[in-house]
């Protein structure tokens, strides 16, 4: 666990997302100035922060659940500990850390009175985040099992997650894109989640491109495959 690395572990857990968000906001501003775009109707800070924190949580959940079985092997000496417990425990830790980061951002938003940092529809943003956690847990479980038997999956996902970060509508809104590109990007479930959170968070944006049925498929199917594999392979994970 990162927290157990002492003081610097705790500080960096919270400092990392700030630094990253500031860098991305800065890049975005520079790009916009160069291309001569007019300032959009929504605020960058709230847009970046809401998308990036959510995406970061997804990425952390994935990488933590992929390492869960190997890292907690020692605990399988006790027959009370099932491998799936370690994945759930790690996801809960990530959710807790993300909640702390969100609280700090909201606090900062109050202090500096950032433009429209209060969500347009706070209930739907919350539902979007919870759904995103549930989705991430399903994918995490699936990849965790996969990575335990084929190490390449983890390496592959490290590369993919960077690409996903760029193409998941974290830094831009779908409405600003060409329709063809928009259609291609919408195959990614992450884009739907990001659009949902952004759409309900910011005035001037909405969820018109979000396909909730598509998101539901992407949530349920990983769970079905994940649990099916898990039931078949649990004993092998314990004893390897």
């Amino acid at each position: 666990m990162r927290i157990s690395q002492g003081k610097s572990g705790i500080i960096w857990t919270f400092l990392e997302p700030f630094l990253q968000i500031f860098i991305f906001i800065y890049i975005r501003i520079v790009i916009n100035e160069h291309s001569g775009h007019h300032i959009s109707s929504y605020s960058y800070s709230a847009f970046m922060a809401s998308g990036f924190i959510a995406f970061n949580m997804f990425r952390q959940i994935l990488s933590k659940s992929m390492g869960a079985f190997t890292a907690n092997k020692a605990l399988f000496s006790y027959k009370q500990v099932k491998p799936i417990d370690t994945v759930i425990a790690r996801v809960l830790v990530e959710v807790f850390l993300t909640s702390c980061v969100i609280c700090i951002f909201i606090f900062l938003g109050f202090i500096f009175e950032v433009d429209n940092f209060i969500p347009k529809n706070i209930v739907m943003v919350f539902i979007g985040l919870v759904w995103f956690v549930i989705f991430s847990l399903g994918v995490g479980l699936l990849l965790g099992i996969g990575n335990f038997f084929y190490m390449s999956i983890g390496k592959f996902m490290n590369v993919i997650s960077f690409i996903l970060l760029i193409f998941s509508a974290v830094f831009f809104s779908l409405s600003s894109l060409h329709p063809t590109i928009r259609e291609i990007l919408l195959y990614s479930p992450l884009v739907h989640f990001m659009e949902m959170i952004h759409g309900f968070y910011l005035y001037g944006l909405d969820d018109r491109y979000v396909d909730y049925i598509y998101m539901l498929y992407w949530t349920i199917i990983p769970y079905i495959i994940g649990f099916w594999l898990y039931i078949r392979l649990e004993k092998r994970i314990i004893s390897q």
Binding site: S4, Q5, A74, L75, Y78, K79, Q80
Partner: protein, 219 residues
């Protein structure tokens, strides 16, 4: 009684399957059991199967007794957590109350003689220190069977003696399944013997017979 019914256990190696147990059916009467066998014969795997963390490829193991976790060299601890928090974690696993946990933590701290290291992360421990901690921890719990894999040979002479005495006291109230290559320890602790050899299990109602048979296959 521990009952094995048609138990087969193998590992896949580069040269095909290596059988540790091949269709073994045996009833093992209760008592202090010493397990004998050459390196790689499957002693540890047998212990892990009894402890419920490894599973036969086919067949079943029945017993109404409770077994401890297999007490081996250094397994069962989270490296980033301190010795103390690891002890607390195991207490939680076994559903101990706060007071019981406090007592167990005190007991393990005293027994393992780790001093300041008790509050240091496990990854800073030597294997001897981990063995001490694990051994002390297991003594604090009550099982029908203690599963001990070579742990008695860790630590310095003084600790070894202390551990042996503590175990002797413990087995007045419970049984032990012990793996050891020290025949003297086996003679002292166990009454019956179980020899693991080439996919078979042989039970000896007297540990002496088991030791002779073991010496026979080592010739």
């Amino acid at each position: 009684m521990i009952q094995l019914v048609n138990v087969t256990k193998y590992f896949n190696t580069n040269n095909g399957r290596k059988y540790l147990l091949k269709d073994v059916s045996i009833d093992i009467p209760d008592g202090n059991i010493g397990i004998l066998g050459r390196n790689g014969a499957g002693k540890s795997t047998l212990m892990r199967m009894l402890g419920g963390i490894e599973f036969p490829n086919s067949g079943t193991i029945y017993s109404e007794h409770s077994f401890s976790w297999p007490l081996g060299l250094g397994g069962g601890f989270v490296g980033n957590m301190t010795g103390k928090s690891n002890v607390k974690f195991v207490c939680n696993l076994y559903g101990k109350t706060k007071e019981e946990t406090k007592d167990i933590v005190e007991y393990v701290k005293e027994f393992s003689e780790l001093g300041d290291y008790f509050d240091m992360p496990i990854k800073t421990y030597s294997s001897g220190m981990k063995g001490r901690l694990g051994f002390g921890l297991s003594l604090a719990f009550d099982f029908d069977y203690m599963i001990i894999d070579e742990t008695l040979s860790v630590g310095d002479a003084k600790f070894k003696k202390k551990a042996k005495e503590a175990l002797k006291k413990k087995i007045e109230t419970c049984n032990v399944i012990l793996v050891s290559h020290e025949m003297k320890t086996l003679e002292e602790m166990c009454h019956t013997g179980l020899l693991v050899h080439e996919g078979e299990l042989k039970f000896f109602s007297n540990i002496q017979d088991g030791i002779s048979a073991y010496k026979e296959i080592n010739k």
